[in-house]
Symmetry: C2
Subunit: 372 residues, 2 copies
């Protein structure tokens, strides 16, 4: 007897039939300079010491769910690197944007292409530079989200907050979603709050982090877009119908995040669902979060990303990245961050990790854009 699954039937594991991963691979990761550069952004880097880049990790995590239904949308400058890092992905599935026009254009173009290619498609968008600790739990959440998406919901996956972060947007959970145990309606998306407001959110237990993961039928996504900006949706569908027009049409598309163009108005219209999830998620926004991700909680010493034999420390804690291959000695500093690359060295503290972007901006202004 042969096991079969029909569209809309949730199985407990294995691929999700008709499910496509859409992976926008962009962003310079400025706060991770000098590890992350505009020419070598963080999704192309192994930031966890796993031996796989963040992009490869994203593919590894999704491949069991999508098999070869995997689309990357990236900048033209990174297309070759993306193809090289993903030898199992057909080069035709790596879409190069002529320029960066924010997430609505990138994900919307993928939606328009899938709408033509597979009428039964459900797509899920997942950033190329996030880290997830428990891929099995992730897969289960995606499976739930896909089932709700087949009923024409725009479904987001809401990450259980581990602290009152002011760096993320939040999803406000509403009632249980009929027919989809574990999913909820979304009351609203809220922008990055203050720490005080975020603390209030956590106390209610009804808020989740918005990690930008959206699972939806391509046609539903484009129709939701068309409700607010019919020209935008039509332009995306026109490009998908004649890819030769991409170059000419792209620069005229609105530069807007999918959250603003679609998710927020759709939530207000009661069209969005959320699958609350807890699978150890991190977007590695800066060296402080990278240090948290990597540190051995049992030891009060230096955490090393790279070859630990290169690092010598005494009475020091924090994160050292010996990426130039030279010996790095750290003496008498707590929560320090030392990132040594072949052409630039950063020394800061975990508490000041956010300020790194100011250094990058100053380097650009002073004619050293080559280092950014």
């Amino acid at each position: 007897m042969t096991a079969t699954t029909s569209p809309g039937t949730a199985s407990l594991d294995g691929p999700i039939e008709g499910f496509w991963a859409v992976v926008p691979a962009g962003g310079a990761g400025t706060r991770l300079w000098p590890l992350s550069r505009s020419a070598s952004p963080k999704f192309l880097r192994d930031l966890t010491g796993s031996g796989r880049t963040l992009l490869q990790g994203t593919h590894d995590r999704l491949a069991p769910l999508v098999e070869d239904r995997f689309v990357v949308v990236t900048g033209r400058a990174h297309r070759d690197a993306v193809c090289a890092q993903l030898p199992d992905v057909d080069d035709a599935s790596v879409v190069a944007e002529p320029s960066a026009r924010d997430s609505m254009a990138a994900i919307g173009l993928a939606a328009a292409m899938l709408e033509r290619r597979d009428p039964d498609a459900v797509m899920g968008s997942f950033a190329a530079d996030h880290v997830i600790a428990d891929p099995v739990a992730f897969g289960a959440s995606v499976r739930l989200a896909c089932a709700a998406a087949r009923d024409d919901w725009l479904v987001t996956i809401g990450i259980e907050p581990t602290f009152a972060s002011p760096a993320f947007g939040y999803v406000h959970l509403g009632d249980d979603l009929a027919g989809h145990p574990g999913a909820h309606a979304v009351v609203e998306f809220v922008e990055k709050p203050s720490v005080d407001v975020a603390t209030g959110y956590l106390a209610t237990g009804r808020y989740r982090w918005n990690a930008g993961m959206f699972v939806v039928r391509p046609t539903v996504l484009l129709d939701l877009l068309a409700e607010g900006d019919p020209g935008f949706a039509a332009a995306l569908r026109a490009i998908a119908a004649d890819p030769d027009t991409l170059e000419a049409a792209w620069a005229g598309l609105p530069k807007i995040a999918l959250d603003h163009a679609v998710a927020e108005p759709a939530a207000a219209a009661g069209r969005v669902a959320v699958v609350p999830a807890s699978f150890g998620w991190d977007d590695i926004g800066d060296f402080d979060s990278l240090a948290t991700l990597l540190e051995d909680t049992d030891s009060a010493s230096i955490t090393v990303l790279g070859d630990a034999d290169l690092v010598r420390s005494s009475a020091a804690t924090g994160l050292v990245v010996p990426a130039s291959g030279k010996v790095v000695a750290v003496v008498g500093l707590d929560d320090v961050v030392v990132v040594d690359t072949p052409d630039a060295l950063l020394v800061t503290t975990r508490a000041r990790a956010q300020d790194v972007k100011a250094i990058v901006a100053a380097l650009k202004d002073s004619g050293r854009a080559d280092l950014t």
Copy 2:
């Protein structure tokens, strides 16, 4: 009319007739790692950004006083580098020790050679790795010391202490020296004191730092040595009489500092004089003292030794040495020390600068002596 000076006559400027500089050039400068290495010790480095190495600065300072009467005693491994850095010094005046046997053997050998070469010689020993802010004042002090040395005193130059340092030995001033205004008899030399004891010394106004500067007739030095260790003095004189025996005889010489072998017992015997001096002296013992030496007291920012264009900082103070040529960015750290060389990077604080030697020892122990 031609100006002439006879031996023993003090002139106000110009060379000091019969005065020889003896410059022991040794010591790895471990606390200045990774700038200073055993293969490239601090005396061979430009640590002040002056464009001259410490050895060259020592020669520049002494040449107006000694003309070509300049002898360097250094390790065999450094002889070629010393000769290359001092093109005006005859290679025959650069004496290579077969092995490091502390200062008595090194300076005593030079004394024995000068005793044979110039019966009217007065010698002054000055370390190759010290920094002096006011060479004119230095010259005046040396001139005073030479005059006293011609009267067979062992004369030291006593540096006015600028703080209660526990890192230096001290010279205890006695009565004025008859016939040599500005010079004093020495009561005793005292070893490195505690900060409390040093504070008491400073309060009396009768103590000076011992910078290891000794001015003396070679015969007086060797005869003082012979009073405590006649065999040692005889051995040095025998080597000077037949330099071919240097290799065979050297390893048998006692390994002892000139301070212990001669200066301390001679002081007890009332044979030592001191010229108190204040000419801005520093032995650059560690990165804290280097930072003090280099810092612009008017600004609360990073001090750079090297190309300041390579250093970008925000809310940071301390010392950065961008010696590998790469950009160094420092964000949000006070009194930090960052020393970036092509094969090793040090990150520490001014307060922990002394602890750098432990890192160097650990590198040696772990098979990375190539970096020390």
